[in-house]
Symmetry: C3
Subunit: 177 residues, 3 copies
């Protein structure tokens, strides 16, 4: 299977900035089957509604898997193009489970490099507001920023979403500037 | 009257990022009279001072109207170039008045499309910090993000302000890349 | 000493976006000695650890000075390229000391213009989240936004960091677009 050269893409942006929809469009430019790795855990009705909305939007060509913790393995096992939605909730799950965040990040990067198809990862940018009062929020914010930096350094293509539109942070190889 | 092709412009950015000043400059590039639609409601002294400061800055060629709720009608009735400052406070007013946010957004888009002159809309980006604790703030943040996405999809030109300088999100038609 | 034309550079971005590392790289492209002006005050262990980490990373060619308040004088006295890290903590120190923030900003701009070598200033963007509940945080956010705008207007080069990668806000003179 000849894949696009955009092997690893990172889609960053704020809440309701159109990250997931943009990421789905990138994946659907490759041949199916498409794997959607959902890291959200449905703790409450608000989250359940959000998950249902995302799921409805995707066509029958998508395979959806719930992967709250073991994301590296799921990326490595995906049969084709794979969408990780999202890094931020994965990180939250890791921290709540008291897992090793740095090691998990390294394992994810290795899994992306070895994945059979292209990988698109979605992450929420959470570091552009006032410093949070509570220490756990600051720790989370730091971990998210570090993970995004490590992934962005390896990614072939990075975008920052604003109001549903992608701003290019790192141009895709071969793209016009 | 031959207007610039930039019929609808969206100016996004954080607090104190120079959104209003940039938007005023865009409007003043067209012939007067210029209409300023102010959505701010002066609840307290801090807000009154802010409104007064913005008002002082604008010359006598500006017509200022206070429009906390019925923004679509005011946009449609403006005699020439019109500046909406800002979407974020309008949305706050709608939510506090328990108005239909989605329908109001659709009415605003229709009004922009039918306006006799160019429209410049200013909105605050509020979705790039830590997820807020309270549900109302999350609901507001989601509504703002959705409104911005819908407007950005229709706009001819979208900028994201950083420290008073515009970053191009969607280039104006005919602009050099 | 023939310096690069990038006399004054402003590096903005969120928490953990790679601002300091990028700024250090800009400074190290000029001949040593390099001066690092640290505005952080070690109030607690979390801050002490952060300061130690930054200090370890820099080589012996760096002169480090702690400058919580009198930044303009320290910039003017630096013998060569100087890195200010960061504006945000400086502003916090000024506000806590009840100093004149506007006057200090003007003095800093004058010092940058008169400095013998290039100046790189790092600042945290804090205005892209939900409006903070407390008035002091809002006042701080406003002061930071205004300071960044004033510096960006004078700077030769402004970048906005996302996940360790610089997005160009104002291109360096002579740079390819």
């Amino acid at each position: 299977m000849a894949l696009s050269p955009h092997h690893m893409t990172l889609v960053l942006g704020g809440a309701r900035s159109g990250k997931s929809l943009h990421a789905e469009g990138l994946i659907e430019a490759w041949p199916a089957p498409w794997t959607y790795l959902a890291t959200a855990q449905a703790w409450d009705d608000e989250m359940r509604a959000r998950i249902a909305l995302h799921r409805e939007r995707r066509s029958g060509d998508w395979i959806t898997r719930d992967v709250p913790i073991d994301l590296p393995r799921a990326v490595a096992e995906a049969p084709g193009p794979v969408l990780v939605d999202c890094l931020t909730l994965w990180l939250t799950n890791l921290i709540l489970a008291e897992a090793e965040v740095e090691a998990a990040g390294a394992a994810l990067i290795a899994a992306c490099a070895g994945a059979p198809g292209p990988v698109v990862l979605v992450g929420s940018e959470v570091g552009l507001g006032i410093v949070p009062d509570n220490a756990l929020a600051r720790r989370f914010r730091d971990a998210a920023g570090r993970l995004h930096q490590r992934l962005a350094a390896r990614a072939d293509h990075v975008v920052f979403m604003v109001a549903g539109l992608p701003m290019i942070v790192k141009p895709a190889p071969g793209a016009n500037p």
